[in-house]
């Protein structure tokens, strides 16, 4: 009997154990394996193994409710422009910049996200009057995202990039641009995030996007006194003298706010009564992608003679934008096309008033893809045609303008990489070439580069021809 009870208990214990093992997870088992150290192991070909990194404590997986991501960069840059002959009082000969860019995102579950980013800039510009310091704090992204499986809604100040080409970017029309540092500074700071509400939806291969901007944000640019300002020596002595006198009325300590006042631009109403609206429809197939765009926004600035003699009327005008982009993959090459038609766009004439025209813009690019973001080879061609040609001479553009852009980035050795970025106009003949060497060690990088600009009469390269420059920058990402 004792044996029977024992057997019964054994069976019961076995069943309970089996049930327990079936209902609770197995304990984790970890095995370290050292194939090289063991005797009898197959000798691996090639060099000796490098030291194995040890595991570090890590945060848990994203499945949890709350996630926070923060980072940014700090950058110290020195820029130098060789002295022009004769010296130009409205220009900077050297510039020292300290930039701090901070970004943070907080997400809760899969349905809520808050994004904030901003930059602090301190600069010291040296010109004919000595050093001029300037401090600027800019709020960039500041939006809330509410997400569901069917719809994404983002409300707040944000950057929304349309189109897929690099240089002309005909469809990238939703955000204002910062023209105060168009070639040398970090790429992500060249556009200004704009207040808008954005909705995204997807259904199979189709996607749709709507964006409404209640207030208009104009491009940032200086009028006079800096090297990328609108008024340059090539604008002629009369305009330069007027600009110098006007800016001279302001104390140098208010140089930056004076630039905005000096623009004297009439902006669209900021009472939500004149919003901009955009829509994108997309289709995505294997190796192929297509987007159609419509945007009701503003063109400008439109510069015309004012009602009072000797005054200018500067404003922005409504325009329609329709466009498409297309991208396809063929082997290691990505082919991209951007096309856009705008009902109005303002083009500067050589008397500094603007000419208004309907315009067609095309950009086509081929990129050789390597799978590595540090290796980029891209060539792009662009074409722009004005349907309402100006009988005189325009600044920067012709009735039909054609050009190419080249972007090459490649690692060399020992953390050194080279980059060339060059938009080159064929009609009108002009070009801007930025060459840069970057030496990166961990999260630190040092760059050394130069910018060359040249061009035929009345082209961009001609207008800013004095802006050949050398620069160096120290940057750390965190």
């Amino acid at each position: 009997m004792r044996g029977t009870v024992g057997a019964f208990l054994q069976l019961a214990f076995g069943l309970v154990s089996a049930a327990a093992s079936a209902s609770s997870p197995d304990p984790d088992v970890v095995e370290d394996i050292d194939l090289d150290a063991a005797k009898g192991a197959t000798a691996p070909p090639g060099p000796a193994a490098t030291p194995t990194p040890t595991p570090t404590p890590v945060a848990p997986l994203a499945a949890e409710l709350a996630r926070l991501d923060a980072g940014g960069f700090a950058r110290l840059a020195a820029e130098y422009w060789p002295e022009e002959s004769p010296p130009d009082p409205g220009r900077t000969d050297s510039l020292y910049k300290l930039q701090l860019f901070l970004r943070g995102r907080y997400a809760r579950g899969k349905h809520f996200e808050l994004a904030l980013s901003g930059q602090l800039n301190q600069s010291w510009a040296h010109d004919a009057h000595g050093f001029r310091g300037s401090f600027e704090a800019l709020l960039r992204d500041a939006y809330v995202g509410l997400y569901s499986s069917a719809l994404d809604l983002r409300v707040g100040q944000q950057r929304l990039a349309w189109g897929n080409t690099e240089f002309l970017s005909p469809n990238d029309v939703l955000n204002a641009r910062d023209w105060r540092d168009p070639f040398v500074g970090p790429t992500e700071l060249r556009f200004l995030p704009t207040p808008m509400a954005r909705v995204d939806a997807e259904c199979g291969a189709w996607s749709a996007q709507l964006a409404v901007s209640p207030v208009f944000v104009p491009d940032r640019y200086d009028v006079y006194g800096t090297n990328w300002a609108a008024v340059q020596p090539a604008a002629g002595p009369a305009i330069n003298q007027l600009a110098a006198q006007t800016v001279g009325m302001f104390d140098r300590s208010v140089f930056d706010p004076a630039q905005r006042l000096f623009q004297q631009t009439r902006l669209p109403s900021a009472d939500f009564g004149q919003p901009s609206f955009g829509a994108r429809l997309g289709w995505s197939g294997n190796r192929l992608e297509l987007h159609l765009y419509y945007h009701l926004g503003y063109a400008g600035p439109k510069v015309a003679l004012g009602p009072v003699p000797g005054t200018l009327d500067v404003s922005y005008v409504r325009r329609h934008h329709v466009g498409l982009d297309w991208s396809a993959l063929l082997g290691p090459f990505a082919w991209r096309l951007d096309a856009a038609y705008q009902s109005r766009e303002e083009f500067f004439r050589d008397d500094f008033l603007t000419h208004e025209s309907r315009v067609l813009k095309l950009a086509g690019a081929i990129e050789y893809q390597t799978g590595d973001t540090a290796k980029v080879l891209l060539i792009e061609a662009y074409y722009q045609h004005l349907f309402d040609p100006y009988p005189g001479t325009l600044l920067f553009w012709r009735s039909t303008s054609v050009g190419v852009g080249v972007l090459a980035r490649w690692p060399l050795f020992a953390g050194l990489r080279a980059e060339l970025r060059a938009p080159l106009g064929i009609r009108p003949r002009n070009g801007v070439a930025r060459g840069e060497l970057v030496w990166q060690q961990g999260n630190w990088s040092v760059s050394l580069g130069g910018l060359l600009i040249a061009g035929e009469n009345r082209s961009f390269g001609w207008y800013y021809a004095n802006n050949d420059q050398l620069y160096t920058a120290l940057r750390t990402d965190f």
Binding site: M1, G3, T4, G6, A7, F8, Q10, L11, G14, L15, P25, D26, D28, V29, V30, E31, D32, I33, L35, A37, A41, T42, P44, P45, G46, P47, T50, T52, P53, P55, T56, V58, A59, P60, L61, D69, G71, A107, K110, E113, S149, R159, N164, E188, D200, E202, S284, N286, E289, S327, L329, Q369, T370, G371, D372, T373, G442, N443, D477, F478
Partner: protein, 265 residues
């Protein structure tokens, strides 16, 4: 009543059944193809379902190291193919970048890359199988495992002992024209079908790369390769792939694997 003998026999039988059900069924002489199928079904890198938090640690021949931290979420679709979304957290200049891959049975994989500095998702070529994944020693081909699925020939060679482990020794000749390798040599542990080592060769039979397993972990009843080292033999560059956190049971919705989601945190 004398029930002791039959009861003991019953107990032994139940125990044997339990033992048998807990141990994977093993054929006495599986073919090379069967072994490869088991290797793929195991999904030991957790790339075909679930969520992992992981790191690539790149080392050059001078010993300089660079770390790429990422989180990968994946799910099977049209088995054995899968969708995966990788979000990078380190180094800082790559933080926030996202990579989406959707494997397709009859066509190139769809791949999208989101770079936060451009605020754009861009489609990248699915035909780049031989190129490096984000500068690591792992190529896209090493990660998509197609060269083990689509084979011209799979040969089982005589078993070998690798360290203390009995291993199947398999040679695979990939069928795809875009395979970066002419053949692959795998050493698969007999007891759990984990590939302890694999060596890839070019058409001249020169060894190009070697993948060696350094740590494995059994969690939720599945074995994972939690530390493995891929070495490019020509330049003495290596990449260690470390799976720090594994959630093998994560059920990730199909609609998460879209370019729209690349932009989110």
């Amino acid at each position: 009543m004398t029930m002791s003998w039959p009861s003991q026999g019953f107990t032994v039988m139940v125990a044997a059944l339990l033992l048998a059900s807990a141990t994977p069924a093993q054929s006495e002489a599986p073919t090379g193809s069967e072994i490869i199928t088991r290797v793929l079904e195991n999904d030991p890198f957790g790339l075909s379902g679930g969520s992992v938090k992981a790191r690539f640690v790149l080392s050059d021949k001078q010993g300089k190291q660079k770390e790429l931290g990422f989180e990968a979420r994946s799910r099977k679709h049209d088995p054995p193919f899968s969708k995966s979304l990788v979000r990078f957290s380190a180094p800082p200049d790559l933080a926030g970048a996202g990579f989406l891959q959707i494997q397709n049975r009859g066509a190139d994989d769809d791949r999208f890359l989101f770079l936060p500095e451009l605020k754009r998702s861009r489609r990248i070529s699915g035909g780049l199988r031989s190129t490096s994944f984000m500068g690591t020693d792992f190529s896209f081909a090493d990660l998509d495992r197609r060269d083990l699925r689509q084979t011209k020939r799979v040969t089982r060679l005589p078993d070998v002992k690798l360290a203390a482990f009995d291993c199947y020794h398999i040679e695979v000749v990939p069928a795809r024209d875009d395979s970066p390798y002419a053949r692959l040599e795998l050493f698969v542990r007999r007891d759990n079908f984990l590939p302890l080592k694999s060596i890839s060769y070019d058409a001249s039979n020169v060894a190009l790369k070697e993948l060696q397993i350094e740590q494995i972990k059994k969690t939720s009843g599945r074995w994972f390769i939690t530390r493995s080292k891929m070495r490019t033999l020509a330049n003495q560059h290596s990449t260690v792939l470390i799976l720090d956190v594994i959630d093998a049971d994560a059920q990730i919705a199909d609609d998460e694997f879209t370019p729209r989601n690349l932009e989110k945190l």
